[in-house]
């Protein structure tokens, strides 16, 4: 179920990119898309009845059933990349706002 929802979230993000003209909203759409994607990736690592992939004094053996740690690592990377891009996008949006006085892409002058 969570996988279906994550795909739906990705689609919502794409819909946002298709319909929005405001820079901030576009960035938000992009983030929604990325979050959906991240949840999807985590979900492909899920194993039914699996434990969180950390050895502790309670779950102390690798013979127990754990969920797949690799997608989680991938998601961590993807999140950090997303942060970087969002920061950059916001900086661009702010710079553009300063020159054009608007966040609406359609209202900006020039080509």
């Amino acid at each position: 179920m969570i996988q279906y929802l994550s795909i739906a979230l990705m689609l919502v993000g794409i819909y946002g990119l298709l319909s929005q003209r405001n820079m901030i909203k576009l960035i938000v759409s992009l983030n929604i898309f990325e979050i959906g994607l991240n949840i999807f990736i985590v979900s492909i690592g899920f194993v039914k009845d699996g434990l969180a992939p950390i050895l502790t004094s309670n779950h102390n053996s690798s013979a127990l059933l754990y969920v797949d740690p690799l997608p989680q690592a991938m998601v961590l990377t993807a999140i950090v990349i997303g942060v970087g891009i969002t920061a950059l996008a916001l900086a661009l949006a702010r710079k553009l706002y300063k020159t054009h006085g608007t966040y609406e892409l359609d209202e900006m002058e020039g080509e």
Partner: protein, 252 residues
């Protein structure tokens, strides 16, 4: 009208994704559905048993020693050991985007002032919380190999602490030069450690220190060191981004 077209398009994409993943044609199913995953078919099973390079059947917390990877946190072992190269790239992404934000929002700058002067309690309370947060952040990235967390959240927490100071104190202005130096040094050491590994072990980014006993603080070889470096680097980079956003260009 445009909305309708957009919705239809999105639904079409969704239709294809769902039909391919969950309702495949006869003989086309290769996608493991949610939860129905056999880890033995994936490379991850070797990450869990830590037997990529040698024979190893079971890892036991607090007992197994000198494995190829000594981290109790499997995600950490994937991030900083098995797929350390990705992490180097990831650190670079954050590094370059922080640099880019700095470039875009550069110029002679001063801090954006708030309309209301924050009062005494806020100011000093924030400093108190700042200390706690920094300690928590340091804890986070130094225990990345044992507990959830690690360099990235640890760094983010430190940056959040700085953000708090920025918000609470109009006169506060971090020394950006110091942050630059920190991230530069941390990044350089990361790469240099990787290069050193070529000399010592023949592989780039190899974990060349002894890995110790799984589950103890001084274990997992290079992992804690790299996570500390990452923590410092991420902290200073996000702080740099925060600084860039909270300052305004000085009008000439």
């Amino acid at each position: 009208m445009k909305q309708v077209v957009s919705i239809l398009l999105v639904l079409a994409v969704g239709f294809f994704i769902f039909s391919a993943l969950y309702f495949p044609n006869q003989g086309d199913s290769a996608f493991d559905s949610y939860g129905e995953v056999d880890l033995d078919e994936r490379v991850s099973s070797s990450f869990i048993d830590k037997n990529v390079t040698g024979e190893n059947d079971e890892v036991v917390f607090g007992e197994s020693a000198n494995l190829e990877d000594g981290s109790a946190n499997y995600v950490t072992s994937v991030i900083v050991n098995y797929r350390s190269f990705d992490t180097l790239g990831e650190v670079t992404v954050l590094f370059i985007s922080a640099f880019g934000v700095g470039l875009l929002l550069s110029g002679r700058r001063k801090k954006q002032a708030f309309a209301h002067q924050p009062n005494f309690i806020l100011k000093y309370g924030a400093r108190l919380v700042f200390g706690i947060m920094v300690i928590f952040g340091v804890y986070m990235f130094s225990h990345g190999h044992l507990a959830p967390g690690g360099g990235f959240p640890g760094g983010a927490i430190i940056a959040a602490a700085l953000l708090l100071l920025y918000l609470a104190d109009n006169d506060f202005r971090a020394k950006m030069k110091a942050f630059k130096v920190t991230e530069g040094i941390a990044g350089s050491i990361y790469v240099i450690l990787g290069l050193l590994a070529i000399v010592i072990g023949g592989y780039f980014l190899m974990n060349f220190l002894p890995t110790g006993i799984v589950g103890t603080i001084f274990s997992a070889g290079l992992i804690p060191i790299i996570y500390v470096l990452i923590g410092l680097k991420v902290g200073s980079e996000i702080a740099g981004i925060v600084d860039s956003f909270l300052t305004v260009e000085v009008e000439k």
